[in-house]
């Protein structure tokens, strides 16, 4: 395998930054997220980033087009499209899985979202294997292999002092060539992966949920929920959005912004009626969507076991615990 000493990783990133806008896992003000690479970013390699990569492809706020209302006529103005090739280094298996989910939503079943597609197509992915699970990780339970991501162009391996690279796609091959000067060939064995702290037995849950829409369990588990959007916004797969426009006099911009099924106004209708009036309906919807509706439509779960929601929920709503409750429920 092609390897390089960990401390020399910056050289690799430096080199790639010539051709790509390189995004790397970095820490800023106590929050980790993918950040454009520069000499002074604080790289974070021992754990996954808090903010998932979804906003690279599906930003929290995205301008769609501009419009101008000039005496009674309306002019639409397309926005210039980004051309720059970008490259994400250090994306983890769970987050690769989440891109698979988002691809389903934004690219399949005859609906192609060109805002997403464009970014997806000009972004190369270098996956990074995990060495040990973080306390809230349960990707394995969701059928994700933390050491071999699916859908990356290159799989990088964290070998403690070294980092190894293995090209997966042709694109990956090209990228690897660009940096081959820095890499040495070496036989290495991937370090074994530790025990998961959290597990979830998802077996049969989607099927079981089909009969559980009216089940009292929802009232019970939703009670402590604050209906904030933290879980949905740190979730790598949640993809609900709302379309709004900012108007200033004659000029306006159409924007689309993340939305959260946890919010009261999410389902608020013009007349004031709200089909999901309370926590119960909202919480139910969130988990139904992740564990039943999505699998029904796309044959895959809408949870990758990254554990972000488990860590960030202010009241410790734990999806693994909920899955357990669902399994145990009569």
């Amino acid at each position: 395998m092609k390897i390089i000493a960990k401390e020399r990783l910056p050289e690799v990133l430096q080199l790639l930054a010539k051709d790509y806008n390189v995004l790397v896992p970095a820490k800023f003000e106590g929050v980790t997220r993918f950040t454009p690479y520069s000499g002074d970013v604080e790289l974070v390699l021992e754990e996954n980033v808090l903010m998932p990569p979804k906003d690279i492809f599906f930003p929290q706020t995205e301008k769609m087009y501009k419009f101008k209302a000039k005496n009674k006529s309306l002019e639409i103005e397309e926005l210039p499209v980004e051309k720059e090739e970008q490259l994400i280094f250090g994306i983890r298996s769970c987050d690769l899985k989440s891109l698979e989910c988002l691809d389903q939503v934004f690219l399949t079943k005859g609906y192609v979202d060109h805002f997403y597609k464009d970014k997806r197509e000009r972004t190369a992915l270098i996956a990074l294997s995990c060495v040990r699970p973080q306390e809230a990780c349960f990707c394995h339970s969701m059928g994700v292999d933390p050491q071999n991501g699916v859908g990356a162009d290159i799989q990088a391996y964290d070998l403690k002092e070294k980092i190894g690279f293995k090209a997966i796609s042709e694109k990956g091959q090209e990228i690897l060539e660009k940096i081959s000067g820095l890499l040495a060939e070496e036989e290495v064995s991937i370090p074994s992966f530790g025990e998961f702290n959290l597990k979830a037995d998802i077996e049969g849950v989607p099927e079981k949920l089909q009969g559980m829409f009216e089940h009292p369990i929802w009232a019970d588990i939703s009670r402590k929920c604050l209906n904030c959007g933290a879980c949905t916004y740190v979730c790598p797969t949640c993809h609900c959005f709302d379309i709004d426009s900012e108007v200033r006099g004659e000029d306006g911009v159409k924007i689309r912004c993340w939305d959260s099924c946890m919010f009261g106004e999410y389902t608020q209708m013009a007349g004031g009626h709200n089909p999901r009036p309370t926590k119960k309906e909202r919480v139910r919807n969130r988990f139904m969507h992740k564990l039943r509706y999505f699998p029904e439509r796309y044959q895959m779960l809408l949870c990758t076991g990254c554990g972000r929601c488990v860590i960030k929920c202010p009241v410790n709503m734990d999806i693994t615990a909920i899955i357990k409750k669902i399994k145990e429920a009569e």
Binding site: E29, T61, R223, L226, C228, D244, I255, P314, A321
Partner: protein, 301 residues
């Protein structure tokens, strides 16, 4: 705390068995050792889940709003700050005192979750910042009081005496305007507007928050530093004189934004400008921004 835990379970069991209350709000152990999330107990056999330990941060009072229109009584455990929250909710006419059985717990101070994560279960974990500053560790309103009242009162007395540490606020006040602005924008450009701070806050008890009123257009859905700061400053003004310093907003924030630095600033200024005031201590309808004094400081001449 073991002792308190047992008393909690005992009392909860009794109240449920006698049918005096339909549900008891307390804390239970969560996914990790340093988490003690809210627990909702409605069966006597479940009371064993209740705990009181170093991580019962959650302010349970706000959950009582969910029971306003349900029949029967609700029992809730209150630390000092939770009881101030309860008072604020009374002040705002959001709760009826009679509907709730309040079980007061003298609070030794909760420990810092982030540090706990860092230092591990055997580490020497410090109190959360807000608890180091706490002036009212004992519940101010309750029907039952768990633990030794005298001892608790003594402990509390010493705390009430000591002045709150505003050095963190003063540090910012010392900065130049540009430094201040850079500091705050770097905080709020990462705000994701999940509204956890608002939803967890007992002083944020509006039926419909203005930030959910897209029609009036107080704020746009777009996430940018400007809108995020509009949200932050407006919320700060809305809770000005009503913030009970439970620090839940800051704890709930997934992006580690130091929200209490805004609230503490307003508390500090209110005390300086309009006289010492601690929100949620008395329920008398006299809030700092709900009345005035003809002799208030005059700077606008």
């Amino acid at each position: 705390m073991k002792e308190i835990t047992l008393q909690m379970q005992e009392l909860a069991r009794e109240l449920l068995q006698k049918g005096e209350v339909n549900v008891v709000l307390g804390w239970e152990k969560g996914t990790f050792w340093y988490l003690s999330p809210p627990a909702f107990i409605d069966k006597p056999e479940d009371v064993e889940r209740l705990v009181f330990d170093d991580y019962c941060h959650h302010n349970l009072s706000k959950y009582l709003m969910d029971y306003r229109y349900q029949d029967g009584k609700v029992a809730v455990f209150l630390k000092g700050c939770d009881s101030r929250a309860f008072n604020i909710l009374l002040e705002d006419n959001q709760l009826e005192r009679e509907k709730y059985v309040l079980i007061g717990i003298p609070c030794p101070g909760m420990k810092d979750q982030e540090k706990a994560k860092e230092l591990g279960i055997n580490g020497d974990i410090p109190l959360a910042k807000k608890c180091q500053d706490c002036k009212y560790p004992n519940p101010l309103v309750y029907d039952y009081f768990l633990g030794d009242k005298e001892a608790a009162d003594e402990a509390a007395a010493t705390r009430e005496a000591k002045a709150i540490d505003y050095s963190d606020v003063e540090q910012i006040e010392k900065m130049t305007p540009d430094e201040k602005y850079d500091f705050w924008s770097s905080q709020y450009e990462r705000c994701i507007r999940c509204y956890a701070c608002r939803n967890v806050c007992p002083a944020c008890n509006c039926r419909e928050c203005i930030f959910d009123q897209s029609r009036t257009g107080w704020i746009g859905k777009a996430n940018n530093t400007s809108e995020n700061q509009f949200f932050a400053l407006t919320r700060a003004m809305h809770v000005a004189g009503r913030c009970i310093e439970c620090g839940e907003c800051e704890r709930a924030c997934p992006m580690n934004i130091p929200i209490m630095l805004l609230n503490k600033k307003l508390i500090k200024d209110i005390n300086q400008l309009f006289g010492e005031y601690d929100a949620g201590v008395k329920v008398d309808g006299v809030l700092p921004l709900g009345h005035f004094d003809k002799n208030d400081p005059e700077e606008f001449m």
